[in-house]
Structures are given as C-alpha cells and as structure tokens.
Amino acid sequence: MKFLWFHLMPYKELPEDFKEKHPSVWVDIHSSLFDPARAHHMYNEFLDELEFAAACGFDAICCNEHHSNGYGLMPSPNLIASALARRTTDTAICVLGNSLALYNPPTRVAEEFAMIDCISGGRLIAGFPVGTPMDTTYAYGSNPSHLRDRYYEAHDLVLRAWKEKETFAFNGRYNQQRYVNIWPRPIQQPHPPIWIPGAGSVETWRWAAEMDYVFCYLSYYGYKMAQNVMQGFWEEMARLGKDRNPYRAGFAQVVGVAESRQQALDLYSGPAEYFYGRCLHVDPRFAGPPGYVTEATQRAGIESQVKLAAEGKGGSGPSTNASSATKMQSLARDMKNIVANGYVIVGSPDEVTEQLRELATTLNIGQLMLLMQFGNLSSEVTKYNTRLFAEKVMPKLKGLFADWENRWWPRPMEKRQRAMLPAFMPQAAAH
C-alpha cells in the first residue's frame, strides 16, 4: 500500500463566527478575511510540513488546485510542486491536479508538468481533475455546458503533446494550435502516471478504466460514507473486465493519531470542527451549475433515489449533488458526530491502524491519501501527527496488497544519475 501525504493548505484564521456571518468559504469569500502577512507564514509552514512528511518516509506528497477558496490556498499547485521538487529527493510528487479545461492553451499543463518531472528527476504523478463547479464554472467563469467536452479534448491534446515526437497541428473543437511542440519533455516516458480525482460518476469510472488511469475518490466524509461509491466503482471495473488491483483506486482520509484515543480527541477535535464547520461552509447556490453533472449521471442519481425510496431507505454516499453534500455537512456539527460518522479517523496508533486496514480492505484502496493537517491544526501538532503515523502506523500497513503490482507509480531516474541538491544555506548566501 502507498501512503500519500496530502495538503489542502487551508487559511487557518477564519473567524469563529465565519459560518454565521459569511455565506461561503468559496467563490465569494470576502477579501478582508485574508491577511497576506499571515499567509506568508502559513505557506511556509505548509511547505515545511510537506517536506517533513517526505523526510518521515511517506511515499508521496500531494497538492491540489482550488480557486477563490478559503480552505485551499493553491490556485497553482504547480508552483508548490516545483518548490517541493527542490527540497525533497526520493518522494513522489503528486499534483492532484490541474483542471485541464481551465488552461488556455491546455498545452501549458503539458509544459509545466514536464518541467516538474524534469526538475524532480521523474517523480511526478500527474492528476487531471475536471475541477469542482465552484472552481471551474463560478470562480473561473468556465461554461458548464462545455466543460466536460473541453476537459476531454484538453486531455487528448496534452497526451498527444507528450507523446508525439514531431511538431503537429491540433484541430480541436475548442483548441486549435498550428504548432504544438512542447519543450521541455517529461522524464517519464511516454508520460508520468495519470490519476483522475472524481466523485461518483459512472462515466468517469469508465473513462479512467479505458485509459488505464487511477481513479481517486476525494471525499472529505470518510470511508464509511464512501462504501457505496467504491462498491459501484469496483462493480463497474468487473463489468469492464478489469481486475481488482487496489492500486487502480485512491481515497483521501482525514487522520489524527496520538498516544491514546483521549489525547487524539483533545488534539484534533478543534481543528476537525474548524474544517467541517468553517472550511466546508459552501453556499449551496454554487453547488449545481446546469450541465456540470451529465444527464447520464443525473439519471443514475434519480433512479437510485427512487429505488432507495421504494425500499424505504434514505440515500447515503457521494456528494455529487447539493442535497447530499448539505446532508453530510449537517451531520458534521461537532466532533462526536464527525467521529461517529467516520469522517475522520482518530485514535491511538493501533486504533488508527485497524480503521485504516478496514478502510483499505473494504474500499479496496491501494493509494491512500492522508489529510494530516486539517482545519487550523498547528504546524507542531501536524508534524507530531505525521511522525507518529510514519513510525507506528505506516509500518504495519505497508505490506497490504503486496501481491499486486502498482503500475501507476512514478519511475524516476536512477538515483545515481540524479542531480545533487545543495544544502539550503540562506545565511551563507547573505555574506
């Protein structure tokens, strides 16, 4: 099993009454809440934490892309990834990812990912999300009715730009370029491993399977709520004749480990409540721009609701529509509910190990993404969480799924061929 340490980079000082006084953490969050001088320290701490996770032996460090977002300060994850490439040596760098349809031209993604792959000596995992409605259609004004077609076309263009050896003309529906010829080119040939973050869309599962990409379910609502979605995913893989290789799938989980369960609750309750209460406070009017969810997925959603209603059950599972996301948020009022619903896994190393084993085996997940800094968790406790996990939890789970080959992991240059990173000595430079 692979362990990926995932930072969202939340703004850590949203006011106590944020939820009451402000309509949304995303899209129209007020600029007066942002203090650049405080953000200077946050960014630097966040980068320290990612580098610390790499030093602790996590298999990868992850960043992602959000816009106009109070819990995700990375409009450009590529800036973060390039900084990390210079301060880490062996850890994979997972950018999860670039929302392809937002780049004009999309060859920019092919170029920047190739740069990160070159700088890091071939350690990049290339993530291609469609992007959330808030990021793509509202913050960036992208047309929801065109978004998916744009995304697929941009994907085809990026892949071709990486693979083709000659300059070529791209004659797409949305992109026309006479001379496509990217410099630099990626270290990893024909291209870095591609991972697709998504939700419960059957079409995305099919496409990821057809392209032989990793599908990542990035829910913030924990492994218990994810059972239906991942069951649907694996059933679809079976229908498509794909094996159950757990490395086909990734999942993100909030985790807090401490010496004892009580100590974990003491350390992590406040930050978890901050995360679920303030960070995920999104105005529902930004949840469903028309056309963002395909009609096939809408149809599947309505059919399953009808079926559940007929069986006398309420729906649970993916947050693909506003009502279910709102429902899950309403379950996250305080730490008791947050833990009881399995949104976060907290406890002693043994307790966390057992829950993660259950997560990995029930969801059949080989690529485990860990959110170990969440909400306003301090840098000090974040590092404590990270180190304790690396020492006491990771070794017990590392052997899981040893029989399967992880075909979706970076293949860096031989270590002896890679550039030596000089020690970082700002004082020396000052003299």
């Binding site: 259609t137 509202y138 004004g141 047309n143 929801p144 009715s145 065109h146 529906r173 949305y174 529902p284 009017r285 930004f286 721009p289 028309p290 056309g291 009609e295 809408q298 149809r299 309505i302 059919e303 009808v306 506003a322």
Partner: protein
C-alpha cells in the same frame, strides 16, 4: 384552455416540437428562461385572434438535446433561423421573451425579411456593470421561481410535473433548459446584442416587468438607445422577468394592439 396542435421538425438531427393554435395572421413566440413544459394562458390569449406558432428552442422542453451541438453564437443563430423557417414563421410577427427575446432580436437584425413586427419581453444579451443582471445559474433551487416571476407560484406551477409524466426524465428536461441557456449566455448573459440591435428594421415593442429581479428595467432603456427602428416601451406593473407568465392578459393585449 385546449391543447395546441403539435408537430415535429428536424433541427440539426434533433426532433423539435412546434405548437400551433388559432387562426388569422401568424405570430411566433420564442420562450424565455426555462422554456415551456406546458401550454400557457398568454399563448391562449394570442390564439384568440392569431395563428400562434411556438417552436421550442434547442435544449428547451420540446427541443431535445439540440443545444449540445451548438458551440458558437453563429451556430445558435443558424439553428434558430432554421427553426423559424421550418415552423413556417418567416415573414410573420415574432415575439420573444428573455432568452427567446434575445434570439428574436437577432433574427430581426441579421435577417430583417424574416420578421415583420417584433416584440421583445426583457431580452437577454446585454450586461451593464452599473446595474449587473442577477446570476440565474447560481441560485438555490427554491429561489429560481421568485427570480422568474413576481408571483413565484406561477413559475412553480409551470414547472410542476404533471400526473403521468416520466418522473426521471421530467426533472432532467428542466435542468437541460437551464443548461441550454447557460450554453450561450454563461456567465453574464452578455452576447453584445447591442451591436446588432441597430440593424433591426421591424417596428419593435419592448416590454419589461416592473418587478424584473433578473434584468433591471434600466436594460429596456439600453435596448431602445441602441435601436434605430421605431420602438415603443411598456413597463408591466406587477410582472417579473417572465412578464407573460405573471400578466398574460396585459402582455398579450399590448402585443396584439401593437401588431394590429
């Protein structure tokens, strides 16, 4: 109120509904935001003295997934021109509301022979930074009706699923109408219509709901300012964005007297 005759025409390979009712000189109607999942009193009023012809816009109820192949402004205008021709509306009077109002204006501007007289009810197509239009695509589901009509219950009734309808396809069709409008008008509703308005030759009646919460009534002045043809403006008291839903009698009477 009896049902209209329904026929189907082909627009870019998509079966497209055309309603027809009444007798007398032809008058066409292009529907507003959300489209027409059912026949409405406004059209009934017009049909008392005129032959009313109502082709569905691509992607609107009755318009299948016709929007899905329209990528550019030109694609849209050619599809609507095809609609006007195949529905037998060329050369007749034309009324358009909201989204449909924008297309009606474009038809009269780009192909002046196709439109004898024109009525525009709060057309899309303009954006004024001093008086920004409300974003219809960033609303809680429950707030849409109040944005479309002064009396929300009227819009809700228009969109309510009738007994016997397909409970899965009905909501998808209503979302599709919002998507189709977004496809051409996202994100601001601005197609720079003011650049084509001077080309309109047909005498034009401009109608605006006094309580339009989507497009401020100041947009009516902007439309008039941009036009060279003869215009007349009527602000409809007690009406919202889709004035023909709130005040069917008054809006129909104004149109019929303008197009006598």
């Amino acid at each position: 109120m009896t049902e209209p005759d329904t026929s189907t025409i082909d627009i870019n390979g998509y079966p497209t509904r055309v309603w027809r009712k009444g007798s007398g000189p032809k008058i066409g109607f292009l529907a507003g935001y959300g489209g027409l999942p059912r026949w409405i009193p406004f059209l009934e009023r017009l049909a008392e003295t005129r032959t009313v012809i109502v082709p569905s816009l691509p992607g609107f109820p009755g318009g299948d997934r016709g929007h899905s192949v329209l990528d550019s402004q030109l694609d849209w205008l050619l599809a609507v021109r095809d609609l006007i021709d195949k529905a037998g509306l060329a050369g007749g009077d034309l009324v358009g509301s909201s989204v449909g109002g924008s297309f009606a204006a474009e038809m009269a501007a780009v192909w002046p022979d196709k439109v004898k007289r024109l009525a525009l009810i709060a057309p899309f197509g303009l954006f004024d930074e001093q008086a920004p239009a409300t974003d219809p695509w960033a609303q809680k589901q429950d707030d849409i009706a109040g944005l479309m009509t002064a009396q929300p219950e009227i819009y809700k009734a228009l969109k309510r699923m009738p007994a016997g309808a397909n409970s899965i396809e009905w909501p998808i069709e209503q979302t599709r109408a919002a998507e189709a409008a977004a496809r051409i008008f996202w994100p601001l509703g601005n197609t720079r219509l003011e650049r084509r308005l001077p080309l309109i030759k047909a005498p034009t009646l401009i109608l605006w709901g006094a309580e339009d919460r989507l497009l401020p009534t100041s947009y009516a002045d902007a439309v008039v300012r941009a036009m060279r043809a003869r215009t007349e403006t009527r602000i409809i008291a007690g009406a919202g964005h889709l004035a023909e839903l709130d005040k069917p009698d008054e809006v129909a009477a104004a149109i019929l007297s303008f197009m006598l």
